[in-house]
């Protein structure tokens, strides 16, 4: 047995090389729960290709990066996550360069969503959906005109605002309201933002990252600032709510797909990406996930309902100059301190 051991080990090393030639019919996806629809996307893909999809979850982008870094052996083929974390993962060398010859539908991608900071050369990612956080309010209670972030500070909105429980977003809109960028790293500007942020605390009814729309639907809050799906879900339940596009400049985010550098089934992963880029599949992604569509070939297929939704179909001239929330390096510590103090006021 002892003599067999090195042989066995050698065999184990060689086996994956063979497996590569004839890839196992399996695809391991890593993303948020319910972010890729089963009946509309995964099941048709499985039926067509015979590739079995294993769906793995994470709760936050940060958790995704932890999982990906810990996974030296390589167990994920497709990861779907947000722009800023993909930027970090790319810098850590965790992304596989895409083989465009396997992606015949590549041209369907709307170029607006390409060549962003997290993938400037356009070689690692396929945009899945995009979104911009918006202000939503109940006109029956909110009597002042809502034009932008600064409106949220109005005294008449005492104890009525729901906003995401997130340092970068909330401090970000405070900076924007003062005419700065979302990605300020200057301690002086951040200190000024902290002073202004104190004034927002009395207006806050609750902070909720994942389900802020529920507070709008139940009437617990009468004004909110939340990500695209929250706005869409709140509008679906309460058509009487109004949407405002912040005049100080809107935030923007793109969730994209990439193949990890150590993916065990890269060919299956490419096949999956190409499948998602088909217009008839892409239209389902945008409509099911309630986000902005990134596939220009799917544009004509979008329903009239989708196109009339103020959160999903924003004319380019209104969208204007948007800004991504990006990694700020060590300034993150300043944001953390401000955020903890904000909760203590």
């Amino acid at each position: 047995m002892k003599r067999m051991l090195p042989l066995l080990l050698a065999l184990l090393l060689i086996l994956p090389a063979f497996a590569h030639a004839q890839e196992e019919k399996v695809l391991n996806i890593l993303t948020w729960a319910d972010y890729v629809n089963g009946p509309m996307i995964l099941e048709p893909f499985e039926r067509e290709t015979g590739i079995r999809v294993n769906y793995n979850y994470f709760d936050s982008n940060e958790e995704m990066l932890i999982k990906l870094q810990a996974d030296k052996a390589g167990s994920y083929d497709i990861v779907l996550a947000s722009d800023y974390i993909i930027d970090i993962a790319r810098n850590e060398g965790l992304l596989l360069s895409l083989d465009k010859s396997l992606l015949s539908n590549w041209e369907n991608i709307d170029p607006v969503f390409q060549c962003q900071f997290y993938d400037p050369e356009n070689e690692y990612t396929v945009p899945y959906v995009a979104g911009t956080p918006l202000i939503i309010y109940d006109p029956a209670y909110v009597t002042i005109p809502i034009t932008g972030y600064n409106s949220l500070w109005d005294e008449s909105l005492k104890d009525s605002l729901v906003i995401m429980d997130d340092a970068r977003n909330v401090i970000g809109i405070t900076l924007k309201a003062m005419g700065y960028s979302f990605n300020v790293t200057d301690p002086g500007e951040l200190a000024a933002a902290e002073e202004k942020l104190k004034g927002l605390k009395p207006n806050i009814r609750l902070l909720d990252y994942s389900t802020p729309h529920q507070a709008m639907i139940s009437g617990e809050a009468t004004i909110g600032y939340m990500f695209t799906p929250g706005v869409v879900w709140a509008l679906a339940e309460r058509p009487d709510l109004m949407v405002a596009y912040p005049e100080e400049g809107m935030g923007f985010g793109i969730d994209s797909l990439f193949i990890p550098a150590n993916a065990p089934h890269p060919q299956n992963a490419h096949a999956f990406l190409n499948f998602l880029l088909r217009p008839e599949i892409a239209v389902n992604i945008a409509e099911q996930q309630a986000y902005i569509n990134c596939n220009r070939a799917a544009d004509p297929l979008l329903s009239a309902e989708f196109k009339s939704n103020p959160a999903l179909y924003i004319p380019a001239e209104i969208l204007g100059k948007t800004e991504f929330i990006q990694d700020v390096g060590d300034a993150q510590l300043l944001y953390n301190d401000i955020w903890t103090r904000f909760k203590q006021y």
Partner: protein
């Protein structure tokens, strides 16, 4: 005799392995991480530092500990004021009645604390049953803002931790030798005096155990202040979760966890010193 002992040791091995692998090693990892410097964008660098521990003494973060201790102390106070009389009545009740009360105390454990917290959220909502009832009574004409207040958070803590106080109190009171109270009464003590000089000192160990069982978890239950308080306040549990999952400051989160662990150990040590229930663990 010797084989019996060997057998016993052998049976314990899986438990030791489990404890070392899933409790000991992760804790060592946490302790280790807490001494490294944070990487600019991600993870840790290979520089050793004490700055994570120094940061705990920054007024901002010291205040988080202060707020947590205050909430925990307030919870303990309210919980003991409700639990002791309840446990007393339970111990003195008829056996059949006692079983029923015991079932009522234990029943909430059949569902997760998280689900029960969502239950409270539904009850306290602006358009929830409590507000509807008050409106029907004519007490209020506009719904009260009950949810997302400090009161709601405290209610959540008290509700969740109540059984942890009732059970040790009940055990202590039930186990007490009631002849001692009778003797005190025979010797002329008033009921109040008999309670204060006999019953209470004899059952204090139960109260101490209950206080520990209430105090320790109340430092870590971050979901209560998130869900019932609308994340507007920050307790030590929330801060650790925030640093690890959102603020990307793993070493500081680890240092905070170590500090919380020390605080917990101190509480347990104090509990032993003051002669609480020794068989707590």
């Amino acid at each position: 005799m010797r084989t019996k002992r060997t057998k016993k040791t052998l049976l314990c091995i899986p438990l030791y392995v489990w404890a070392v692998l899933f409790v000991g090693l992760p804790l060592l990892y946490v302790l280790g991480v807490s001494f490294f410097a944070r990487g600019a964008t991600w993870g840790v660098t290979d520089t050793l530092t004490l700055s994570n521990y120094r940061k705990i003494f920054d007024p901002t973060y010291l205040k988080v500990f202060g707020d947590s201790l205050r909430t925990a102390a307030l919870t303990c106070l309210i919980v003991s004021l409700i639990s002791y009389p309840f446990a007393y009545c339970m111990a003195r009740a008829k056996p059949a009645y006692r079983t029923l009360l015991m079932i009522l105390v234990m029943a909430p454990f059949w569902t997760s604390a998280l689900i029960r917290t969502y239950g409270w959220m539904i009850l306290l909502k602006a358009n929830g049953p409590l507000n509807a009832f008050l409106k029907w009574l004519g007490v209020i004409d506009r719904p009260l803002k009950l949810l997302y207040t400090e009161g709601a958070v405290l209610l959540g803590f008290v509700y969740t931790l109540l059984p942890f106080m009732i059970l040790p109190c009940y055990t202590a009171i039930e186990r007490m030798d009631w002849c001692t109270v009778e003797a005190a009464r025979d010797l002329g003590a008033s009921p109040t005096r008999a309670f204060l000089t006999v019953t209470l000192p004899l059952t204090l160990s139960g109260v101490m155990s209950g206080l520990t069982l209430t105090f320790v978890p109340s430092m870590g239950m971050f979901f209560l202040s998130d869900l019932l308080g609308g994340s507007k306040t920050i307790l030590i549990g929330n801060l650790i979760q925030d640093q690890l999952l959102r603020a990307r400051n793993t070493p500081f989160g680890a240092a905070l966890a170590v500090a919380l662990l020390l605080l917990t150990a101190l509480t347990l040590w104090l509990q032993r010193r003051t002669g609480g229930e020794t068989q707590l663990f």
